[in-house]
Amino acid sequence: MKKIEAIIRPSRLEEVKEALGKFGIHGMTVTHVTGCGLQKGKTEVYRGSQYTIDLLPKVKIEIIIRDSSLEEVVEVILNHARTGHIGDGKIFIYPVEEAIRIRTGERGEEAI
């Protein structure tokens, strides 16, 4: 099993989620995060003083997936999260040693 961690634009979440659903992936965990990178921060003004917000809002999607589906799922995310502008985000892949469904105690690929 692998963990796909995709950091995407918040405005792409709905579309990515829907595309994954159509693909048959329903289980995922979503977190609101902030991030920085190549994308320039936002300059805000408050009472005449400017300041920069360099941590921009992003959404992190985590999906634990059997090895065999990995590439396809990555493809789906890539296709639907991309806008082509700097700040589209990243996908990271990690190894997973075990998955357990709390409700039943099932382990491994059964559990996800």
């Binding site: 634009r9 918040p10 405005s11 792409r12 979440l13 709905e14 579309e15 609101h32 917000i53 809002p57």
Partner: protein, 465 residues
């Protein structure tokens, strides 16, 4: 009564032809001073009643602020409906019971649906008096929602609101203000420490005890788990709105703007609340090591409730003492209900309205400049005050008990456990109170973007029509 019969007619004609008529607007004959006095009193009463109305915004803010965000829609709905339902029920039933022709000193029998009001004369137009009394009645009812917050079914609460505004409160109002037996006995409750606040407070106590504490409020060994409110500045705004509204509640209860008593009533109201806030802050600071804002806010309200009975008959110094006592007792009362009796009252309604209401009513027997024990008036008034407090307490708590028991059987008082955990907002209203989002947020139905680009029929004008 000083009637404006001709003025009314002319008024109507003016109304029919708009507002901008000139000198003709002046009555043919100059008004008499008696007519003007009535006009001043009417205006005063109405303005005061508007302030009392605003107290419902205060209650709404206090009760939402001091409860959890998962139950906010529900508590707002309860407060909002209390005033809407309360005044309509009071119109249909309550007013007649309270201020109709007296029957045995116990209740009124005319004036339902504002019919059969011929004999009534309150020195101001009937509807001005009615309006003032209606918002008062709703105030009494709304006290209950806070104590029972976060676990009581909306339907059950609304049914109780109907009962208290139709019957429980009006009867007490009749006893004390409508020519009933307590009034005849010389009981002094100028603006309703007992009539309004204790009636609400007793109902709140019975209701909170019967509905039981919120899940998780008390541990298995009875240990107390505080459940902090979700929005303290909102609670503070509510408290200040209540305080502001009280300047209608108390001085308005003269029903007269021509009496100079309104100045001293406003003053005792201001001083008592201030003294109480100071007392609660200092006492909580000394007792718990840190000054507790939620108790300080409650303290000010306690001072306001306490001065309400005697506001017109005590001196400024008397009001300072009454306020101070209320502020101290409030802190102890909150502790007592929370830790000893273990009645879970999220907003402190019982301590504020019942305890300080009773206390304030009794202290009239001590501090009334005419008749008070400390002013050489003997114990007679004090005794009367005690009788009033006890009899209203018995009446209200018995009726509230029966009502809540019946409601529980018919409608079930409490929401199901799962709903309570999830929050009443989702359970009872399918809605959440807050939807704070990040600066850049997820918009629902992003696909609409594609739609926009594809050039649909309803293309927004702004895109270069």
């Amino acid at each position: 009564m000083l009637a404006f019969t001709s003025g009314k007619l002319i008024g109507l004609i003016i109304l029919l032809f708009g507002l901008s008529l000139g000198p003709e607007m002046a009555l043919a004959d100059d008004p008499t001073t008696a007519e003007l006095a009535t006009a001043i009193n009417t205006m005063w009463t109405l303005l005061a009643a508007f302030l009392v109305f605003l107290m419902h915004a205060g209650f709404t803010m206090v009760e939402s602020g001091f409860t959890r965000s998962k139950n906010t829609v529900n508590i707002v709905m309860k407060n909002f409906m209390t005033v809407a339902l309360g005044v309509v029920i009071f119109f249909i039933v309550g007013f007649g019971l309270a201020f109709g022709a007296d029957k045995g000193g116990f209740l009124g029998t005319t004036g339902f649906w504002l019919a059969q009001t011929e004999g009534m004369d309150f020195g101001i137009p009937l509807l001005a008096f009615w309006f003032f009394q209606a918002v008062f009645c709703a105030t009494s009812a709304t006290i209950v929602s806070g104590a029972m917050a976060e676990r009581t079914r909306l339907m059950s609460y609304l049914v109780f609101t109907v009962i208290i505004t139709a019957f429980i409160y009006p009867v007490v109002a009749h006893w004390v203000w409508g020519g009933g037996w307590l009034q005849k006995r010389g009981f002094i409750d100028f603006a309703g420490s007992t009539v309004v606040h204790s009636v609400g407070g007793w109902s709140a106590l019975i209701g909170a005890a019967l509905v039981g504490p919120r899940l998780g409020k008390y541990g298995p060994q009875g240990e107390v788990h505080p459940i902090p409110g979700h929005n303290i500045p909102m609670g503070a705004l509510g408290t200040l709105l209540l305080w502001f509204g009280w300047f209608g509640f108390n001085p308005g209860s003269t029903l007269s703007g021509t009496t100079p008593a309104i100045a001293s009533i406003a003053t005792t109201t201001l001083l008592a609340a201030s003294a109480a806030a100071i007392a609660s802050m200092v006492f909580s600071w000394a007792r718990y090591g840190k000054s507790d804002l939620s108790l300080t806010l409650n303290g000010a309200l306690g001072g306001l409730v306490a001065i309400t009975a005697g506001t017109a008959v005590v001196s400024p110094t008397g009001s300072l003492i009454i306020g101070m006592v209320a502020g101290l007792v409030l802190v102890l009362a909150v502790e007592f209900f929370d830790r000893v009796l273990k009645v879970d009252d999220p907003v402190g309604a019982v301590s504020v309205h019942l305890v300080c209401g009773a206390l304030g009513t009794i202290m009239v027997g001590l501090f009334a400049t005419e008749g008070g024990l400390f002013y050489g008036g003997g114990a007679a008034l004090l005794l009367t005050q005690l009788i009033g407090v006890v009899s209203v307490g018995v009446w209200t708590s018995v009726l509230a008990f029966i009502s809540f028991k019946l409601i529980d059987i018919i409608f079930c008082l409490r929401v199901p456990k799962e709903e309570e955990i999830e929050g009443l907002d989702l359970g009872e209203h399918g809605m959440q109170a807050y939807n704070f989002k990040l600066a850049t947020e997820v918009i629902a139905g992003e696909e609409a973007e594609g739609l926009l680009q594809a050039g649909q029929a309803r293309r927004p004008v702004g895109q270069g029509a």
